[in-house]
Amino acid sequence: MWLSVDPRSPKPVYQQVVDGIKEAVAKGTLAQGDRMPSVRELAAGMTINHNTVARAYQELERDHVIEVVRGHGTFVAAFRPHADREERVRAVAARIRELLIEAHHLQMSEEDLLALWRATLAEWHDERRRAQP
């Protein structure tokens, strides 16, 4: 299955489902307009709690990752700009700062960090290419 969760992890299962689906969309495993499994199908397929899946779907819908079309099902949504985009971009910047601090304590130079960034990016593009049919 393209989605997997680890119920043993301290990260709540609903969050793992949200993150997993967001990753699948970012990688192109799931494309805009693709039909999502129903809550019931996903819960039974992965043997996880259905209310947990429903909660993840609600969050993904709020985040415009998926959309529910009444009477038709749930689909991967078309891209829509977030109303709170600026705030979220600031949050991304805050995470970059956290990485800078961690890198400093590992005695990584700026060049080391940029090299790691490029290597990770290359890996990511590779994964994306493999994920798309």
Partner: protein, 306 residues
Amino acid sequence: MMAALRMEGVGKRFRGVPVLQGIAWSVPVGSVCGLIGPNGAGKTTLLRLLLGLIVPDAGTIEVLGEHLGVENAGVRERVHYVASDPAAVPPFRVGEWIHYASLAYPRWDAPRAARMLDALELPSRRLVRELSAGQRTSLQIAVAAASRPDLLLLDEPTNGLDVLVKTQVLQLVIDMAAAEGTTLVIATHHIEDVERLADRLAVLYDGRLIAQGELDALKASLHRLQVVFPGDWPGEIESDPRVVRVERQGKVAMLTVEGPLEPVQEACRSRGAVLVEPLDLDLTDIFRAMVEREGYARAELRWDVR
């Protein structure tokens, strides 16, 4: 939210010995509640009370909106109980067992029963007592699904099942819950099943309910912190009420912390800790921390100690 079951001040004694005391418990409709506790904590007694099979000495029990009394016939039709490997098995064949069950439950779904027997590979000509323990559990699950209960109580449902049948059984019950909104209570020792299937948790210890609530909230209520104090061990850390357990080995200590982690991290740093690192805590660790806080201790068994 409506409660599928609610208990207030429930107590039960057997031959004068208290088995359950002061139980206040509720499970909302449509949720899946894991019920865990050490052996002999009273899990089965709790489930049997919900069926009206035994009567509490104290307190009130409400199931699916009805107070349990002496009769409870209406509730019985909507509540189903599955025990792992029932002890006494009448000399029925699988088909006969299904037939008698169909008479007992007014909402019986015969096509579903037939599909389930097929999917679980239970031949209707076989004698029930010749089935393996796993097949007997499967048969009970088939009966449970076909009786279309509003509340399904599962007592150690996956005991004795091989991993394939176990997955099939768990998928089936979660599918029932998702499709029909069946409320599930799963008493089990398999904490990994609870982590997968449940959205709520109730922890029973020595006849008392020591924790209950949403699984994610309970998981987030306890944390583990690894700290290193290069100097003297600051004794006040041990008396901090937020620190429920301390394991020390030399300069390294493992703290189990209740509630938010940051204040305790700060307290450790201000007392000279050089390393303060949060570590993952899974439900097994949390369960152990909860029962140990109540005084549960189990000595390590060694075969060579005289």
